[in-house]
């Protein structure tokens, strides 16, 4: 368990990120199941949290909880690297004999909640944070998920109780299933909204390890939101910023080869 060596240099984190993305691309294209582009956008944030030597994320006690459950398979290669699950499980993703599912759930070692219904894990994490003040909970929210009203109920609660052992990370890739969030149901100015709800709000480039280090190297003294500006489908040129790939996984051999090449 927890047999990783954390990285001190940024290029090492970039290398790890590529490995994680490639692994996700492989098991997603092999199975044909899930939300590949939504997983790829959050990888650098996760790698920074788990693998940066400067990260304040406590590998023993702290937890990442996916509220955007469709992006949660992004954590599977990381759980393999941490020793929570054997690597062969990745080849059995969504297969009858495997333990890894389209949405991560509590039956998977290293996972606490159940994925698939948006707008709920933030409240669940708030309850956990209240019950276990010695742990820090990092909640990954999708940006389109913020259209769920329950999220805003939870924000009121978190701020009211000043749950400083929570960090909310918004994967701001800009798209939901039908297009940009701003064309479906406007979210901006997100920063103003979170600040109005009483949160310390930081906006960063979610693919820049230096910026991510700057944020995640310290634990906050008050409830915090990190808006990570990300690219949907990050790392695969033909998927980047294309909402059409929200649920579509490349099946064409040429596209798969291209994707693998770009992630290698």
């Amino acid at each position: 368990m927890l047999r990783i060596k954390r990285a001190t240099r940024l290029w090492e984190l970039e290398k790890t990120s590529k490995e994680v993305r490639k692994s996700i691309f492989e098991f997603k294209t092999q199975s044909g199941y899930g939300h590949l582009a939504s997983c790829l956008s959050i990888v650098d944030v996760l790698v920074s949290l788990y693998f940066d030597a400067d990260s304040a994320f406590d590998l023993v006690h702290d937890r990442v909880i996916f509220s955007k459950g469709h992006g949660s398979p992004a954590i599977y290669p990381i759980l393999v690297k941490l020793g929570h699950i054997p690597s062969e499980e990745l080849t059995k993703y969504c297969e009858e004999t495997g333990i890894l599912r389209l949405h991560a759930d509590y039956s998977i070692p290293g996972c606490l909640y159940v994925g698939g219904s948006l707008g709920n894990a933030i409240g669940f994490a708030a309850g956990l944070a209240l019950a276990r003040s010695h742990q820090h909970f990092y909640v990954v929210l999708g940006d389109a998920e913020l259209q769920e009203g329950s999220v805003w109920e939870s924000l009121l609660f978190i701020n009211h109780h000043k749950l400083k052992n929570m960090t909310l990370i918004v994967d701001r890739n800009g798209f939901g299933i039908t297009g940009s969030t701003e064309s479906s149901l406007k979210l901006e100015s997100l920063r103003d909204k979170f600040e109005a709800f009483g949160f310390d709000t930081l906006e960063i480039d979610g693919h820049n390890f230096d910026s991510l280090r700057g944020v995640f190297s310290k634990k906050p003294n008050s409830p915090r939101v990190v808006i990570a500006q990300t690219i949907k489908g990050k790392g695969v040129s033909y998927m980047e910023g294309k909402y059409e790939f929200h649920t579509i996984i490349p099946k064409d051999k040429g596209l798969i080869q291209q994707g693998l090449k770009e992630l290698s």
Binding site: V114, A121, G123, F124, G127, A129, A131, E153
Partner: protein, 310 residues
Amino acid sequence: MNFSPRDVFLTELLAHAEQDESIILMSVDMGAPALDLWRERIPNQVLDMGIAEQNAINVAAGLSKGGKKVFVYFMAAWVHRCFEQIRYSCCIADLKVNIIGNGVGMGYAPAGPAHQPNEDIAVMRSLLNMSIFTGSSIASIKSLVNLSLNSSKSNYLRLDRKLFETEEISENSVVRRGWADEVYVGKGQPKYLVVSYGYMSSRIKKFIMTDPIMSSEVAVLDLIRLWPLDLKKFEDVFKSVEGVLLIEEQSASGSISETIVSSIRSLRHKKIATIHLPNKYLFDNLDQEGILNKHGFDKESIFKAIESLT
């Protein structure tokens, strides 16, 4: 009998909570004299959740995961509002959360159909990993505390706004079965059985026990555990009677009577009658008794239904 079921329950729970700091009570836009006692005596174990049912259930699930014994207290009518969170964060996540639904049936009738949970049992019994309990006396309401603390899954605890005024029934007349109380004041074996629960049950007990003829032939099976049904236990109780009347303050579409009647073999050879609320939302400008009397729950109609079993 002049008491509020929620105060009986919350006071009993308070006694446990004072000994066990892992017990947490979450109030969602609800007050109660007993809640004031919690706030006074153990304020750190009370959470005011505001008017936010969805978040309350999710937070409750998180607290449960964190090792707390959680009770969420709100109007029963709002279980529909956070149904997704109950299903997702409690039932699918297999986390134990106790949901106290106050004001079931027509308890808040004058407030209109939004406040009349006449389908709540149907809604909650559709969920896996969920049990439903209720009570119609101080003893049975108090028993819900231990039942919920000792269970391993989530519970929906249905509490009436008030109970029907009734004389104290002698302990000798009550057979406490755990899942139900059977009340009978006659001699020998009862010929007929009336099955009900909550306010309706307290009302029927009053009607029957104060009538010399009815009380000599009719027993009341006052259900505490409403779901899941233990059909074997019903089978045993039904064996010795000639006919059964099932009365529920629920719409027919949401009742448990149909399941009982269709599942119990011995009932196929017995006379059966049922009384439910109509399958429609009620816009009557009446209080609880007014609505019940209008829709076939008056004493005369109930006695006629019992007589139809002969």
